[in-house]
Amino acid sequence: MSAITRTISYVDAIREATDLEMARDEAVILFGLDVDDPKAIQGTTRGLLEKYGAERVFGTPLSEDAMTGAAIGMAMAGLRPIHVHIRMDFLLLCMNQLINIAAKAHYMYGAQVRVPLVVRSMIGRSWGQGAQHSQGLYSYFMHVPGMKVVAPTNPHDAKGTLIAAIRDDNPVMYVEHRFLHFQKGPVPEESYVVEPGRARVLEEGSDVTIVGISQALVESVRAARYLESVGVKAEIIDPIWLAPLDIDTIVESVKKTGALCVVDNGWTSCGAGAEIVARVIETIGAIQPIRVLRLGFAATTCPPTPSLEEHFYPNGQTIASAVYDLVSGQARGWMPDERADLKEIEFRGPF
């Protein structure tokens, strides 16, 4: 693959993908609370109202349930709606439409309708967001057949998966972590798709497979740096798409390493990590013993105070510490000191 020379942010990658698709296809339409307001959803919708007009780019009343249903109706009529939510937590208001209709319509209406709907939902963190502004609930959408789920971790994939999602004739849950919004990275100027169902081996290693989901991938890369210092070589996998999930890539890696750690940006119970572990073990559990570990949100409500919040999320150091124990087969009691040079983690490809 040829080197990509332009560097832009994740926010701009989303904006550009939307812009390109809206220019390419009149049917694409963008709405949700505040998409047309001065803050333009962190900048991801900036300029689109001016370019495409208020019928194709509009804010809505605070009516998540009806607006999701409306998005489905628009999709049935042949539009390709992108419905934006500044917090994934608000999706709990429209689960009926998403799970009972969007995921099922094509099947239960005998393939007479299609629901090409993209739901953009943001996960927050820090600054005291607390209980209801922090949840990464994507496993809810992995549970139900008929939905695709994607959680891009870098600007390149943010653009390519959003274009893929918009062109997909099925409902796609597109998950953005606010920390990732500030990531910069190489992004081609032209249109391209990052296809559903293909994971990426970000770094090769022989001792343990670490699968990092959404922003947890960044923490996993940090963890890999720490682990190097104790001689542990981690293979880092970015699943990109959670449904369909590229389990083969993960299984191949675990066959080699014999140890799997999934670092999630949500709770572990019945989460994405549980699914990944179960599928790996169903495939190769009978053949070899496998060390397995899931990390994710602490099994509690997210507290806003920083003294507790720092223990709510796994980070590079805590991941490294736990993975070191995992590969060692015993508690080592090792916790690396924070390294300032790991503050900025950027992906430069290859993609």
């Binding site: 339409i29 019928e55 194709r56 809505t60 009343p61 009516s63 349930d65 009806a66 607006m67 999701t68 249903g69 409306a70 998005a71 489905i72 109706g73 628009m74 999709a75 049935m76 009529a77 042949g78 539009l79 709606p81 009926n96 439409q97 009972n100 209709i101 319509a105 094509h106 099947y107 239960m108 209406y109 005998g110 393939a111 007479q112 309708v113 299609r114 629901v115 090409p116 057949p145 008929g146 695709k148 062109r167 997909d168 004739d169 099925n170």
Partner: protein
Amino acid sequence: MQHSQSSSSFSPDIFRDLYRIRRVEEEVARVYPTDRIKSPVHLSIGQEAISVAVCKPLRADDIVFLSYRSHAGYLAKGGDLRAMIAELYGKATGSAQGKGGSMHLVDVAHGVMGASAVVGTTIPHAIGYAYAMKVRREDRIVVCFFGDGATDEGVFDESLNFAALKRLPILFVCENNSYAIHTHQSQRHFVSNIAERARVRGIPSEVVEDDLAALLTRAEAAVAAVRRGEGPRFLECVTYRWKEHVGPGDDFHLGYRTRDEAEPWYARDAVRIAGDALDAAERQRIIDDVEKEIAEAFAFAEESPFPGKEELMKNVFAEARR
């Protein structure tokens, strides 16, 4: 068919549509105990006039959204009868190849966009579809049918708000039969004034009593206004469900309502009234036609195969088509 309360005359089409729905429902009810119908059925008997009156002024390319009590709306809008019966039978020739069932009837080619088993869920679909028509500058319209129970759900109010705000080409039709399953509206609403709730949103709204002539006039006017681009309209149509909530029988034995309550509605039966308006020969010709069509549709369903096992995993996802 002895006496008529209304002196209006109705076109043969109206009688045909009404009679056809009534007889389909009666056939469904008749067959139901044999277990050949593989789906719960919510019969429209007693409520047919609303669907027929509202769909009468619609064009083939207009769109309707329905609730699970969908048989009347489906047929009145022109949904395929054979595909419907086959769907109730769970057959591969059904409107959804047996994957929808009675509560999810659909016939996109005839503008029936689909029914849903969860009360109120299709209301926002209707506004979304109407929004698409509006931005595409079409002169089609959407009709959204639902029951009085659906108006209890918050999504109903949210949808009215959006329809009003965006001046959408949509006609809301509430079939108020006073009951949600066995619970009367008076046990669910402090004031019984569903139409007012639309009016307060700025949507012209009216209550239409159980009278075929009134229904036809009011529906035609409402459809015309919506088509002229005047924004949404709302009709609360007062009606009565003759049969049990789900299933083929009566339900007076349950004790939540009495036969006395039902009698006046039987006396106003629109099917009979529309039939009485015709001369006997013409009426009989229609009856014969319809009976033949229905018999064929049931025979078609009976003879059709069940979907094969390989269908189970098909159409979970839509394949790319470009």
